[in-house]
Structure formats: structure tokens, C-alpha cells
Symmetry: C3
Subunit: 139 residues, 3 copies
């Protein structure tokens, strides 16, 4: 694999805490191995990265059920990192770029200033596709 | 990357308008860059491509909530293309092949004639796997 | 593609029968073509592979609706293989490794002994990322 194809592109679509946590773990795992990571925020994930709500409760997938939601709450009480913190760590240890999808920004009528500082910029699908030369994962 | 590995294979599983729109945008982005795109329709996405319901409201992911659903409705009123139209454009500008999964067709007891003309054929998982030599994205 | 890059890594996140069935079909398709398959069980998929509940009803995606759920029940009555059986067949015909995510095991407070015998072991995200050198699909 060339350096370029070594990259991991994560298209974050879902905005629930379980999926965002799974995605953040993939990102930190790849970053720890020295792989470039591109994160592209679409739809509900884009909404979840707004500065005023990133730390709030974003719910879990409906399939979690009460038992699953309770297990997740238990993990948080025990001090499990929030997914946003896991992603910040990934950015510290590796090369992780977070871009919000311009179409999704239009959908929610928000701008880069509304986003958490972790978001590096706003880009369109063409720019994303040009950078997504390695593996792509849609979460 | 060789020409063959340049391909993008989209396994469409979900049948909600938000995910189908996200997938259509990935498809048109890849097609615009001259990349071959294979679309494989499983389960609820297969159902959503039926000729008699492709233009209808397919709902959004439960996590969208009322605020998200309202944002999507607003975009449509402003003239955002329907995902089926975005995919048709992708087929016009590039090499985009849409195949319905034969197992899913059995599940819904439908045939190729029940599908939107955009669907090029019906194939099994072996044929799909043989063509999916580049990136695979499951939506 | 080298032998190594020929691998398919399936990150199973969802625990509903429709998604698990779609994933099992991708796995058996890849295994039949002689491709190595790595399955990594996170969250609700990890829960669904517990020995005491793998054969039970895990529900379907909310979007299925009553019509979709009825179609799935009809397929089962007609003798469609359960996804767990499809995966077991994939393991028989090819090189399919199933690992549970250690973080998810902690979440549910379970150990390898609680899992179906099909699960080969428990591993962390670093081990998974090191093995996921080919295509990655998140289901």
C-alpha cells in the first residue's frame, strides 16, 4: 500500500452516541498506526458536531433498547471518554482532518462558526472524493 | 491505483430518504471524477427503488427527530433534487451500474419489471463481489 | 491486488436480523471467492452473538415497518437460513475470522465464554486495524 492508499476516510452520517463512539474508536486506532484519517460529516453527524451541542446526549440507536442504553450510561459513569474527546486525542496523536459536508451545512443553515473547533473546515463532495483514496467507511 | 481498483461499490441497504440522498451524493461525486460506480440494492433500498414508490416519501432515520425532518422538507421545497434524480444524473455523466440483489427481490416477491428503469439488472452476491474490487461502502 | 489486500473486513455494529443477514451474505460471498474475511463485533452486534441469544429474534430496522417485518418472517418460514448459519457456512468454506471488540465486551460485562463458539476471540481496535488491510465495510 502506498502512503496515499493508507488513508482511512470516515463518512459520519449518524448522530447517535453509539455510532459516533464506534467511529471515534476507528479513527483513533488508525491514527495510532500512523495512518492519515479524513472525517467527513454529513447529516445528523454534522448536526452533532455543533459547538453548542457536541457534549450533550445524542441518544443511541433505537435497537439499543433500555438494556443497551443503561449499559452505555454505566460506561460513562465509570469514566469512559466521550467520543468527542476520543476524536480530539486522535487529532493530537495523528493526522486527522475533520470536514463538514457543505450540503449538510446548508441543510441545517449553519456555518463553520457554529461548529466545534475540532472541525477543520467545510468541503463539498468533490473535494472529499478526491481525498478518499484509501479505505472508505460509512458510519 | 489501477483503473479497476478505482471503482466505488455502494451497497444500499437502508431505504430512508436521508441515507439514499447521502448515497446518491457519493455516487455522483465519484462519477464526476470518472470513477466506475456499482450500486447494489439490498433490503429496504431495493424496496425503495420500485417504480411505483421511488418518488414517494420514504421517511428519514428515527434519529432525525422532528427538527431534522423539518430541515429536510425545507430543502425539498427549495428545489433540492430528489435522490433518484441525483442518481439519474450520475448515470448520465458517468459509468454507474445499478443492480438489485436477487435475494432481496425474492424477499419482496418482485421482479425486474417492478423496478424503476434506472435499475439495470438483478444479480447475486457472487456477481456483486466479483465486481466490487475497489472501495466498498455500505449505506 | 496482493493476497493481503484481497481481505474483506466487516465491522458489525448493528444487531438487527436484517443487517446481520446482509452482512452474513457479504461474508459468504467473499469467502466463496477465496477471500480472507475478518469480522469485528461491536456494540449491538456483539450482544447479538451471545450464546444464549444468537438464535433469538433480534428485530429489524425501524424503517422495515410491518410490511417489511412480515416479508422477513415469510422468508424464514420458507426455510431461509438464519444469518448465524450463513456465517457458519462461510467459516466452513473459507477463511473467516470472527473477533469481538474488547471495549464492547466491557460494555456488556461479558467474556469470551458468553459468546457463541463461532466467535474466535476478543481483540482491541489496534489488532483489528492491523488486520484490516483490504476493504472495510461497516454494517
Amino acid at each position: 500500500m502506498s502512503d496515499q492508499d493508507d488513508s482511512l476516510s470516515l463518512v459520519l452520517f449518524s448522530g447517535t452516541d453509539d455510532k459516533l463512539n464506534a467511529a471515534a474508536i476507528l479513527a483513533v486506532g488508525a491514527a495510532a498506526m500512523g495512518r492519515p484519517v479524513h472525517v467527513f460529516l454529513q447529516y445528523w453527524a454534522c448536526d452533532a458536531f455543533r459547538a453548542d451541542r457536541i457534549e450533550k446526549d445524542h441518544g443511541v440507536s433505537p435497537e439499543a433498547g433500555p438494556e443497551g442504553a443503561a449499559a452505555m450510561a454505566r460506561m460513562q459513569e465509570r469514566g469512559q471518554l466521550h467520543w468527542s474527546e476520543t476524536l480530539r486525542q486522535a487529532k493530537e496523536i495523528g493526522q486527522v482532518d475533520v470536514q463538514a459536508c457543505s450540503l449538510s451545512m446548508d441543510l441545517f443553515e449553519i456555518t463553520k462558526d457554529d461548529m466545534d473547533p475540532m472541525v477543520d473546515g467545510v468541503e463539498g463532495i468533490a473535494a472529499f472524493m478526491a481525498s478518499a483514496t484509501g479505505q472508505i467507511v460509512f458510519v
